[in-house]
């Protein structure tokens, strides 16, 4: 068991204006397209123009979200940067591969080559902050952020006096959505945000992008949003309810100890049944809250969901737009996040006030 870690600040860029101070999903941007790019903040406000001009989308989003998190945490010194990304810097990877094909590997532009690696966002953050400490990037599909979170908890266990920056980032590619479409991942028609929940909207996801970063430490602090108690991932499971039950047992809790559950329903009729089964067997009397119906789907969207959970704990409120069932909460002390993507990469994050 790892010790809880406290979250002192966060920054989030997504298809909703989550970078605005105190944004809480009271109103949301609507979309009728697929895929959906993020709402861009003023990147120049936090990144010098000479550095900005060469940065790809992941780097811009990651640095801006990191600086937002740091501003909120009082611009503390950071000892380590730990990120998760499912796809890495997709656009530069595409450009790099396309140039290899077009020029038969003769003439390759250096910028997309350098920036096509998955750890570029973490490196750019470290450079921007002057952080020469531990720097790690996890690439585990839809469990990438959770892997970074677990590593962050282990790092702080070994270095209890340190403060870390951890987060997740994923960008949309220029060509990749065409491939995802061929693979049957994208939703055709009914690509509406906010997506209607509990309605059969057919197969496929609404693809999006985003970044969310957090300043974390073992110190409680006065302004902390809340603490992360535990995180667990499982690549595949035939029984998600058993996975959740075992997780709660390992943490000495039963279902009644959970005040709200954040679920990763994304409107893909092929896999949302997993959530429905879990809700029916475990969470019928507990407020169920969605997030992908307003944030879309990408590998590290759970980082944005963690931001939502922390806001819910601090405000003691559930955004009406995201509340998916009837039961109301009676004080939010403990929130469980459960998500999976395409029936794989199941994960649980337990957050406490």
């Amino acid at each position: 068991m790892t010790k809880p870690i406290y979250i002192h600040g966060h920054g989030c860029i997504s298809i909703q204006p989550t970078f605005e101070t105190n944004y809480f999903f009271e109103t949301v941007h609507t979309y009728a397209q697929n895929p959906i790019p993020v709402l861009d903040p003023d990147y120049k406000a936090r990144i010098p123009p000479l550095q900005l001009r060469r940065m790809n989308k992941s780097m811009k989003m990651a640095i801006s979200a990191s600086k937002l998190a740091l501003e909120e945490a009082g611009n503390v010194d950071i000892d380590a940067v730990i990120t998760g990304t499912g796809q890495g810097c997709l656009r530069d990877s595409e450009r790099f591969v396309e140039t290899i094909l077009a020029d038969e590997a003769e003439l390759l532009n250096p910028t997309p080559f350098i920036q096509s690696t998955h750890n570029m966002a973490a490196a750019a953050i470290a450079l921007a902050l002057g952080c020469k400490g531990y720097n790690m990037t996890y690439v585990n599909n839809a469990n990438s952020f959770e892997s970074a979170l677990l590593d962050g908890m282990l790092y702080l266990q070994e270095h209890p006096s340190k403060t870390i920056l951890l987060g997740g980032v994923d960008e949309l590619g220029s060509r990749s959505p065409e491939f995802w479409n061929i693979a049957g991942y994208l939703k055709h028609g009914n690509s509406i945000i906010p997506s209607p929940m509990n309605v059969d909207s057919g197969p496929g996801e609404i693809s999006a992008e985003g970044a969310a970063f957090f300043v974390a430490s073992h110190q409680e602090g006065k302004q902390a949003y809340g603490k992360i108690i535990a995180v667990e991932t499982r690549h595949k499971t035939e029984d998600a309810a058993a996975f959740i039950n075992q997780f709660l047992q390992r943490n000495g809790l039963d279902i009644e100890a959970i005040d709200a559950v954040l679920m990763g329903n994304n409107g893909d009729v092929r896999y949302d049944g997993i959530y429905e089964t879990v809700c029916r067997t475990l969470f019928q009397g507990i407020p169920q809250v969605g997030f992908k119906q307003v944030l879309g789907e990408y590998d590290t969207v759970v980082a944005a969901a963690l931001m939502l959970a922390l806001h819910m704990l601090k405000r003691q409120q559930i955004p009406k737009l995201l509340h998916m069932n009837g039961p109301q909460h009676h004080g939010l002390q403990r929130i469980l996040l459960y998500t999976q993507r395409r029936g794989k990469n199941h994960s649980l994050i337990l957050v406490e006030r």
Binding site: L50, L52, R53, R54, D103, L107, N109, P110
Partner: protein, 84 residues
């Protein structure tokens, strides 16, 4: 020659993503590195690739590059003298 300098400016602005600069406010004799545009070593590599792709000129001697990439004008002179 003026046509070539204009073309070069447009290519450099696009290739190096110089957002706040346009063809009209980039002078022919503005230093590309140091106190002028402030380009760096990665930009120098981008310019070498551009010379090869757009004008068929291979620049193999790094010392030569220092002179060639001094300004837009020196680049244009070099291209005029060496293009295939």
């Amino acid at each position: 020659m003026s046509e070539l300098t204009q073309e070069l400016k447009a290519k450099i602005i696009t290739q190096l993503n110089l957002e706040d600069i346009n063809v009209d406010n980039l002078e022919d004799d503005t230093p590309l590195f140091g106190d002028g545009l402030g380009l760096d070593s990665i930009d120098a590599l981008e310019l070498i690739v551009m010379l090869d792709k757009s004008y068929g000129i291979k620049l193999s001697d790094p010392k030569e590059g220092r002179k060639v990439f001094e300004t837009i004008q020196t680049m244009a002179d070099f291209i005029e003298a060496n293009r295939k």
